[in-house]
């Protein structure tokens, strides 16, 4: 069963190659191949997940990891191909494959050029993301981190749209690449530093996650190594200050790219904090916590403020993501079990809700050929199905109780209130501001007098689109009404993140 773990990313890699080859016979074949390989990977993950034993191996060296797979790679440096699946990884891999499926569906009618290469990039990117969520070797993690970067940059550069002030897609792609690459190098330096510390302590190099978690790095180096990791993950998250790549990349990527960027890619940053930055550097993280929480609160307010001033709907949604990721950062560094559980719930809910919003943005663009909020309005009677979906996911994004985002945000607030009341109070105003931008997003697109924008006989959402959105909506509702299974799955990762020395 454990041998199925490497099959997950491999399936997508092979699927991507198959897409590129089959596209020579016809673009439709490439789409079906992409859909099929994602479905197969989904079935595989479901098989792994169904035979999952919660609390498996609690006493072993790898608590919570129900499945592990390891193969020697570069033994001289203590590098191995090591994958592991615990509850957190299962949830995030599931989110990745689900949004990947929807991304392929969203590209069905949108992408008509170089279809094979497009699906190759999409699937290889998703393979990298799966690798990130599964890797238990730090070097392998870094390799996957970089591997998911290139295909996404290509997706933006080759199939992207023009952005703010006529910025070319290449501009957004290069910006995205530079930000992630530069911060990724810091991460590599931090990982190498940790391995070196391991060498100093034991005489052998190791990039093994569990070995390094036992290691207490030299205090003089620990803070710098931790900061290297923190910067890498904070740029990816993104936290305030490292967010400049996000609005351009999100707004200029093709629809599928935006769905994956917002729904999956941002989660890798949060996952890195949860899986690596907190457990590997417990003392240093406690030292950084007040600053990181301040950064999180700043991000909440900054994102909410800037969202309100955007006229491009995709840019608008992108800035709301920055606001939501502020909650994630705040929750991570509250170093409280409830806040971390809230972070996991928020990650899933944000992936579902914002992924759906970007899908709808793409659907609007396909009909109106515009993303300008100032020219929209009055679409509710013209596109009733799209309007209902827009209202639903808009409300989910602003944190309506009963939907997933609310569960995440309220848990983050409750958890952080226990340690930093002021930060929690200021962050709570972010929920009010979310209502402000959320309602503006909804009413700006749907209400008001009908405009001339778009053809008179616009088609409403079609069957596949309705089905996909319905699935996302139901999942959000389930997460909002009964989040307990998610908490149980994430429990071992949360416990591990706090076990090594954070607040009780």
């Amino acid at each position: 069963m454990s041998a199925l773990l490497p099959a997950l990313p491999l399936l997508l890699l092979l699927g991507g190659a198959a897409c590129a080859l089959l596209a020579r016979l016809g673009p439709q074949l490439a789409r079906w191949a992409a859909l099929l390989s994602l479905l197969l990977a989904g079935l595989l993950l479901a098989a792994l997940g169904l035979s999952f034993e919660l609390g498996a191996l609690q006493s072993s060296a790898a608590p919570g990891f129900a499945w592990r797979w390891e193969m020697a790679w570069i033994p001289r440096l203590g590098i191995s191909l090591q994958l592991g699946l615990d509850g957190l990884a299962l949830l995030l891999c599931g989110l990745t494959l689900l949004l990947g499926l929807l991304a392929v569906l969203a590209s069905w009618g949108e992408i008509h050029e170089r279809v094979g290469l497009y699906h190759l990039c999409l699937l290889w990117h998703l393979a990298g993301v799966l690798g990130v969520f599964l890797a238990l070797d730090l070097f392998l993690f870094f390799v996957c981190w970089e591997a998911m970067l290139v295909p996404m940059a290509l997706l933006i550069a080759l199939w992207g749209h023009r952005g703010l002030g006529g910025r070319s897609p290449a501009y957004a792609a290069i910006k995205f690449f530079l930000f992630t690459q530069a911060s990724g190098l810091l991460m590599l330096a931090a990982f190498a530093g940790l391995a070196w510390q391991h060498w100093l302590a034991t005489g052998s190099w190791s990039f093994d996650y569990f070995a390094l978690r036992e290691l207490v790095p030299d205090p003089a180096w620990g803070r710098w190594l931790m900061l290297g990791l923190f910067v890498a993950f904070a740029v990816k998250l993104p936290a305030l200050g490292g967010h400049a790549w996000l609005p351009d990349a999100h707004s200029q990527a093709p629809t599928a790219g935006s769905i994956i960027l917002a729904g999956v890619l941002l989660k890798t940053g949060a996952y890195g904090l949860l899986r690596f930055a907190l457990p590997l550097f417990p003392q240093e993280s406690a030292w950084l916590a007040p600053w990181a929480m301040a950064l999180g609160v700043g991000g909440i307010l900054y994102g909410a403020s800037l969202a309100l001033a955007q006229s491009d709907i995709k840019r608008f949604v992108a800035y709301t993501s920055i606001s939501h990721m502020g909650f994630v950062l705040l929750g991570c560094y509250a170093l409280q079990a409830s806040a971390l559980q809230g972070v996991v719930a928020l990650l899933l809910a944000h992936g579902l809700a914002t992924g759906a919003l970007f899908w709808l943005c793409g659907a609007l663009y396909a009909r109106l050929h515009s993303r300008d909020l100032a020219r929209m309005g009055g679409l509710a009677p013209r596109l009733p199905r799209l309007a209902s979906a827009w209202v639903f996911f808009g409300l989910a994004s602003l944190g309506l109780p009963g939907l997933g985002n609310f569960v995440g945000e309220i848990l983050v607030l409750v958890g952080s209130f226990a340690v930093a009341p002021l930060a929690a109070v200021v962050a709570a105003t972010g929920m009010v501001l979310a209502a402000v931008y959320g309602l503006r997003l909804i009413s700006g697109v749907l209400h008001g007098p009908p405009r001339e924008l778009g053809p008179a006989d616009m088609a409403d959402l079609r069957g596949a689109e309705v089905g996909g959105l319905l699935l996302l909506g139901l999942l959000l509702l389930a997460l909002g009404l009964y989040p307990q299974p998610v908490f149980e799955l994430a429990d071992s990762a949360v416990t591990q993140a706090l076990a090594a020395g954070g607040a009780p």
């Binding site: 400049a244 403020s305 001033a309 955007q310 209202v391 503006r440 700006g444 749907l446 209400h447 008001g448």
Partner: protein, 264 residues
């Protein structure tokens, strides 16, 4: 149901139509007012009326929320409570009867009350407008501008440097020669001192603890001036500009140079 007709339905708002956006508060083509005539409107209203009446008779057991404690109820207090409630209804009725007033006739505190005691204006001035102004002022994202400035600076530097790439061999040779002259001049005049700073100065701290027997480190710091160098330096410490010959000679043998330079 009679009062229902007195409250005309002004407009059928959409779920979120209450948010004004560029457009006026009310659609111009608001439907005409009509009474709740249809059974589909009467039935739920009737049920709600019955429910509201019935809810009044539901006695919630107070022991769930209040302490089990007998509280005295003076009759005067009870009557005052009742009177307050009735007076409120009477006031409302009186105000309601005078509803025929046109907007222009409503002045003073009534106008203020009609405007919601000014709360909208207060929130607008305190919260909404500053926030909107802030968002508007930072529309282009100052953080992004900072990164763009960084990129712009790098590009400007690139353009500046790429100007030298003229493919003219003569210019390259000139630049090469000029650079070489500058480099040589720097090496001759400043070189010894800066080399000294980099070689001797960092050792000053460690010199105290390290073995004093090392010939290079023994003269460390200012003591070199008092003690004679192990090898006689050709130039004296007072020489401001050592000749090229002495500098080159010193280059071959750093040790006396260090001793001499430290003296200067």
């Amino acid at each position: 149901m009679a009062p229902a007709s007195r409250f005309p339905q002004r407009a059928r708002y959409h779920l979120f139509g209450f948010l004004p956006r560029r457009q006026g508060r009310r659609p111009a083509d608001a439907p005409q007012a009509h009474d709740a005539g249809d059974w589909r409107e009467r039935l739920p209203l009737g049920l709600l009326i019955l429910g509201a009446l019935g809810a009044g008779f539901v006695s919630l057991p107070a022991r769930y929320s209040l302490p089990l404690e007998e509280i005295p109820h003076p009759t005067a207090l009870l009557l005052a409570q009742l009177a307050c409630g009735l007076a409120g209804i009477a006031l409302a009725w009186w105000l309601y009867q005078r509803r025929g007033l046109r907007d222009a006739q409503v002045r003073g505190w009534r106008a203020w009350a009609r405007a919601g005691w000014g709360f909208d204006a207060l929130y607008g001035a305190l919260l909404v407008r500053p926030w909107q102004a802030l968002a508007e002022a930072n529309r282009r994202d100052v953080v992004d501008r900072a990164y763009a400035g960084l990129a712009g600076g790098a590009q400007a530097l690139h353009r500046l440097v790429s100007r030298t790439q003229t493919a003219s061999l003569r210019q390259y040779a000139q630049a090469f020669a000029a650079g070489l002259i500058l480099l040589l001049a720097w090496a001759l005049w400043q070189g010894p001192a800066s080399r000294l700073a980099s070689e001797v100065a960092p050792d000053v701290d460690s010199a105290a603890e390290s073995a004093a027997g090392s010939p290079l480190r023994s003269p460390g710091g200012s003591t070199a001036a008092s003690g004679p160098g192990p090898v006689t330096a050709p130039g004296t410490a007072s020489a401001a500009e050592p000749s090229a010959a002495t500098a080159l000679a010193a280059d071959r043998d750093t040790m006396p140079l260090a001793a001499r330079g430290a003296g200067g």
